[in-house]
């Protein structure tokens, strides 16, 4: 186990140390202490590391993550796991706005609540939120899955493409072109797997599925005069 004191050694040294590690490294277990809300902690990791941040983080923690498992034992600031490619990011507390934005792969697990715009423009990432998500979550989400065990705020899935949204609690309102869809057996199976990966014991049968009505992003000849 490598213990890195962020306050003493600084952010650049941390990220340079993590970036220097390649796929065959033996130094895979890392603990980062004294994060004190710093920005850009463990951004751009590209190796199968297991990193635990002991405390709360600022902007963009675990951004662009590839392969690593990164756990924040605290709350995460805006843009956690932004543009993640693969691996797993786990937030023990709450996440601020646009968690998992533009994520292309991997799994983001938020044990508390996520604020607004969770999963905005997601492109393949799977996000499991144990609590609630704020307004405009999954805005323009293209692919991947967003699972919300609590409630969703206003305008869920506005301008949605092909991401799948599963919500157990209430949805304050659906955004443009987002509709409720039938929960077929294959969706229950998909959701069961997502919940296991998300360390969540919720019952998949309690969720509703939402997706795109596909009216907004397809060109409609009847609207030609509007362009």
């Amino acid at each position: 186990m490598q213990t890195f004191d962020l306050e003493a050694e600084g952010l650049r040294a941390l990220n340079a140390s993590l970036h220097a590690l390649k796929g065959d490294t033996n130094t895979t277990a890392w603990e980062i202490i004294n994060p004190r809300g710093s920005h850009a902690i463990a951004v751009g990791v590209d190796a199968p590391l297991d990193i635990t941040v002991r405390g709360s983080t600022g902007y963009y923690c675990a951004g662009m993550n590839k392969l690593a498992t990164i756990r924040v034992a605290g709350n995460a600031g805006p843009g956690v796991a932004e543009n993640m490619m693969s691996g797993t990011v786990i937030i023990d507390g709450d996440a601020s706005q646009y968690a998992g934005a533009t994520g292309r792969g991997g799994t983001l697990v938020i044990k508390g609540n996520a604020a607004s715009r969770c999963g905005i423009s997601m492109k393949g990432i799977d996000i499991v939120v144990h609590g609630n998500v704020g307004h405009m979550s999954a805005f323009m989400a293209q692919s991947g899955n967003l699972v919300v065990c609590g409630d969703a705020g206003e305008a869920l899935g506005d301008s949605l493409y092909e991401a799948r949204l599963f919500v157990r609690g209430s949805v304050k309102s659906l955004g443009a072109d987002c509709i409720e869809k039938e929960m077929r057996p294959e969706h229950v199976e998909l959701l069961r797997d997502l919940l296991v990966r998300g360390d969540c014991d919720a019952d998949p049968s309690e969720f509703r599925r939402y997706g795109s009505a596909r009216k907004l992003y397809n060109f409609d000849i009847d609207n030609a005069s509007a362009y």
């Binding site: 004190r36 809300g37 709360s56 600022g58 601020s96 706005q97 607004s116 307004h135």
Partner: protein
Amino acid sequence: MCGIVGLFLKDRALEPRLGALLTEMLVTMTDRGPDSAGIAVYRGAEPGKWLLTVQSAAPDRDFAGLADDLGAALGAAVTLREKDTHAVIELPAGKADAARTALKELRPDLRIMGSGESIEIYKEVGLPGDVAARFDLASMSGSHGIGHTRMATESAVTTLGAHPFSTGPDQCLVHNGSLSNHNSLRRKLVQAGKSFETENDTEVAAAYLSWKMEQGSDLGEALEASLQDLDGFYTFVVGTRDGFGVLRDPIACKPAVMAETDQYVAFGSEYRAMVNLPGIETARVWEPEPSTVYFWKH
């Protein structure tokens, strides 16, 4: 981008440390707003006394003999505490309006930054750490305070353009964001009798809240009304003589974190502004919801 910090003390034992705690929070927010910085501190009100915080670009000229000149004009005892470009004038409560009129004659270049029973406001252009040192903010005690670090986006980087803005007795406002309907709202408020020192959008929001409170609203109601009447992006933190409020616009893209313990309620644009507060490890930490008025009172 701007940085906001705020601290509302519940535990009076912390009051001597208010300035020191707020200064540390303010300086941490330097990279959100290196242009200018300001702080409003609420100190214990003395019955019958009124405080005017004034600012001068030429303090040596304007502050010299001012207490005596103003005292003579008002026929009352007046004291003056000088701090760099600012001074706090203490006078009998009934003389506040007369003092404003007299100051226009006596020292026409003075600017009144704030007035009330307990508010003192200090703001200047420069790095937050330098501004804090010039006014020795760390030594100030008080019951609550609000600070702001500014990265200007819509009006000039000047002392008067810095936050907090105060447009009513013991009231102040700091703002992260930008308002889009401030010009039309300013015209309406001018018609309603409010006057403005700057072209700044935040001053309009402050005047709007003051105007609402003059109409009989309390701070919470005034903030609720602003959700209808203000258009744009904002995270506001507002102070009154005994209160502390927070409001975010419905989109809520300007960051905000709050922390509460038995000893205090704290606000930061980012969590890192609060990491040195006592007991932060066990505080309840949360992100304030959009379109939701948060308000604490002593």
